[in-house]
């Protein structure tokens, strides 16, 4: 099983002489894309964490109405073909989209801007984070939350001082996943944001563009991407955790992807 998953990645690396990896960093297109990807993914990640964490906290409370429906909706974007996601985004924020028209009145046009890339990434990557965050919060012993309340902490303080630190392990893991996923996002981006070098052409888009051009460069960028993603994922497997359950999982509440 593992071997099967590993093989294709291995194959790519075998095709790319290591020297190339660094050579690629000389290539203007690659650098632009790398910078843009870093920028957009970082911003998107910020948004995801800022908006996703409280959302997850609410969803994690068993009293949340229509919880299961909500959970399903959160997962849905994961299973959409990215291209469809892109269409959806256009249909929502495009000029003729649901919000597009009203946005325009404020002179805001999202498609084909860096903002669009960010939106696309958020749309595609946030479910990974939110779902993980929900599980992380669910794994927090409710007694500890209650204890905080009786000790005079309001909802906000309880969230910040108890729930958040206790869930940190899972949140970190989730963030890493969505970050990596965001870094690799392609289909929705090219549909919704196009592929403007320096503006919306992220690493994966650059790879795509390079097929046209120089197949090897494409492979090289792919390898680069894999390496980065792997590094990020591996990094989060090493953070401390305070979950009561002696779970041996790298994710406190035995989270998953």
């Amino acid at each position: 099983m593992l071997f099967f998953l590993l093989l294709p990645l291995l194959a790519i690396f075998l095709r790319v002489p290591p020297g190339r990896l660094f050579g690629a960093l000389g290539n203007g297109v690659v650098v632009d894309a790398l910078v843009l990807s870093a920028k957009t993914t970082a911003i998107a990640q910020g948004l995801i964490v800022l908006a996703g964490t409280p959302a997850a906290y609410l969803l994690a409370s068993p009293r949340f109405p229509a919880r299961r429906l909500a959970l399903t909706l959160v997962e849905l974007p994961l299973v959409l073909p990215p291209a469809v996601a892109g269409i959806g985004l256009l249909a929502a924020f495009g000029r003729f989209g649901l919000l597009g028209s009203s946005l325009r009145e404020f002179g805001i046009e999202i498609p084909f801007t860096t903002a669009a890339v960010v939106l696309a990434v958020v749309f595609v990557a946030s479910p990974l984070y939110v779902r993980q965050a929900i599980a992380a919060f669910e794994a927090v012993d409710p007694n500890l939350v209650d204890a905080a309340r009786t000790l005079g902490a309001g909802r906000a303080r309880t969230f910040l001082r108890v729930a958040l630190p206790l869930a940190s392990g899972g949140l970190g893991a989730g963030a890493a996943l969505s970050f990596a996923r965001g870094l690799g996002e392609f289909g929705a981006t090219i549909m919704f944001a196009g592929s403007l070098r320096g503006v919306t052409q992220t690493l994966p888009l650059a790879i795509y563009a390079e097929f046209e051009h120089d197949f090897d460069v494409a492979l090289t960028i792919s390898a680069l991407l894999i390496a980065i993603s792997a590094a990020i994922l591996a990094a989060t497997k090493l953070r401390p955790r305070w979950t009561r359950s002696g779970s041996t999982s790298p994710f406190p509440s035995g989270l998953s992807t």
């Binding site: 000029r95 989209g97 084909f112 549909m191 196009g194 919306t200 795509y208 097929f211 046209e212 051009h213």
Partner: protein
């Protein structure tokens, strides 16, 4: 003076920036670009690899009247290793060959069918193992040696260099592959857009297109 956005077919990725480096380019499959414009993507120029989409959008009143600015030719490509030992288009008649073409719905697909019809080789379509939705995928599969042969634009074939071998197709069989430009309706900087169009249609523009392997068109550009 405001920067314009050009949505252009992937096969123009190299040449257009050479002609005019100022606009923002977004290269993708013509079909995708068309879809984007339908969805109200804020573009000023649409440069497609065929008349189909511009005309379609024109009919829908989304773009102004399209003009042809270049032509292209098809070639048959095989991996440099040429596992199936194909040396002419007629070798495709052999069975068991892995042939990759575009789907009928994309330009490269329909053109491929035209040329095969002209050559009376429609039978070879039975060797098709995959109908790709863009030229890039056809190139990739042949370049990787997965497919034994594929039909692409000559301009695309050039970019893959030594990984493939081009097999010329008789000129008489070539379909008219016309690239069309259209200004998107409601553009905020029509002046700049017009300027871009005339640049592409201008001497230098046409020269550059030729050197990139495209066929140029007479000044009028109109049909």
């Amino acid at each position: 003076r405001a920067q314009i956005t050009v949505l252009a077919a992937a096969s123009l990725a190299d040449v257009l920036p050479k002609i005019d480096s100022r606009p923002r380019y977004s290269f993708a499959g013509s079909d995708q670009l068309a879809a984007q414009i339908q969805q109200g993507a804020p573009a000023d120029i649409f440069a497609a690899a065929s008349p189909k989409y511009p005309d379609d959008l024109y009919a829908r009143g989304l773009v102004e009247k399209p003009v042809t600015f270049a032509t292209n030719r098809l070639v048959l490509i095989v991996p440099s290793s040429n596992p199936a030992g194909i040396h002419s288009v007629f070798d495709l008649r052999r069975g068991g060959i892995k042939l990759v073409v575009g789907t009928p719905t994309v330009p490269i697909g329909s053109y491929t069918r035209q040329i095969l019809r002209n050559l009376g080789l429609t039978g070879v379509l039975s060797n098709v193992v995959s109908q790709e939705t863009d030229v890039r995928s056809i190139l990739a599969k042949v370049a990787l040696g997965e497919a034994d042969a594929g039909f692409v634009y000559v301009t695309d074939a050039r970019t893959v260099g030594t990984k493939i071998v081009q097999i010329k197709l008789p000129a008489w069989a070539q379909p008219k592959v016309r690239y069309e430009l259209a200004i998107v309706k409601g553009t905020k900087n029509r002046a700049a857009a017009l300027a871009f169009v005339s640049r592409v249609l201008g001497k230098r523009g046409q020269a550059l297109l030729r050197s990139a392997g495209f066929g140029s068109v007479d000044q009028s550009g109109q049909r």
